[in-house]
Point group: C2
Chain length 107, copies 2
DNA sequence: CTCATTCATAACCACCTGATTATCAATACG
DNA sequence: CGTATTGATAATCAGGTGGTTATGAATGAG
């Protein structure tokens, strides 16, 4: 039984939240303080966004002393991927082109 | 220049809206009246949701006499697909499994 | 012509959301 | 110890969002 994509859609609908997730995906584990820098919003706002992402299982956190380090959980996107798979069979071509690109980047 | 996935994410974050898009994807062109039946909300609500989906270029409409027929534009999902492609390289496996499934269904 | 149907829009409203500042517990540091 | 840093939470607020009913224009049917 696949989970509904609702949580992921909702969590990623907000641009600030999407940016946080993108940063965590690109830069790996970051603290709340680190994420706040350059986020354009206050630290409490970042904490709340992270809580939403965590509920949607798109990030996970672990305490390190007085810091909390967050990292992306790309598996959290799976409900989205499944949903898109059903409603966007057309994107096979697009995926193939991306696959090519990634392969070329690997070299 | 890839368009931002923002419009699509926002449009699809609402479950009623997502349901409308799903019905249009599965059942093809439907009128507002037809979509209202079984939607659980009033006709004006449906009209407004359709306007949002239209702005996000996820559906298109054409007048037919006094009716307006809507149909899904799966290409409107491309920004979403691109975004997922960047942040979910992991889902290659999942995609392959889906691909298999679709192939089997074709037969 | 008259009446019914379709659908978009306006006006309104309750609730949600994203932001802020203030605060506090926990931890690190001197 | 005392002080600074980190991050979650509470309180608050403005604005957005999703719903409703009322309405009217356009079209179709008799």
């Amino acid at each position: 039984m696949e989970p509904s994509p609702d949580g992921a859609f909702r969590a990623l609908a907000d641009p600030t939240r999407r940016k946080l997730f993108e940063r965590l995906s690109r830069e790996g584990g970051l603290t709340v303080h680190g994420l706040t820098n350059g986020s354009g919003v206050s630290q409490p706002a970042v904490s709340k966004h992270l809580a939403v992402l965590k509920r949607a299982r798109l990030v996970e956190d672990r305490r390190e002393g007085r810091e909390t380090r967050y990292q992306a959980r790309p598996e959290g996107l799976s409900a989205l991927v499944d949903w898109l798979g059903i409603y966007a069979a057309f994107w096979r071509d697009r995926f193939d082109r991306l696959e090519d690109l990634l392969n070329r980047m690997d070299q």
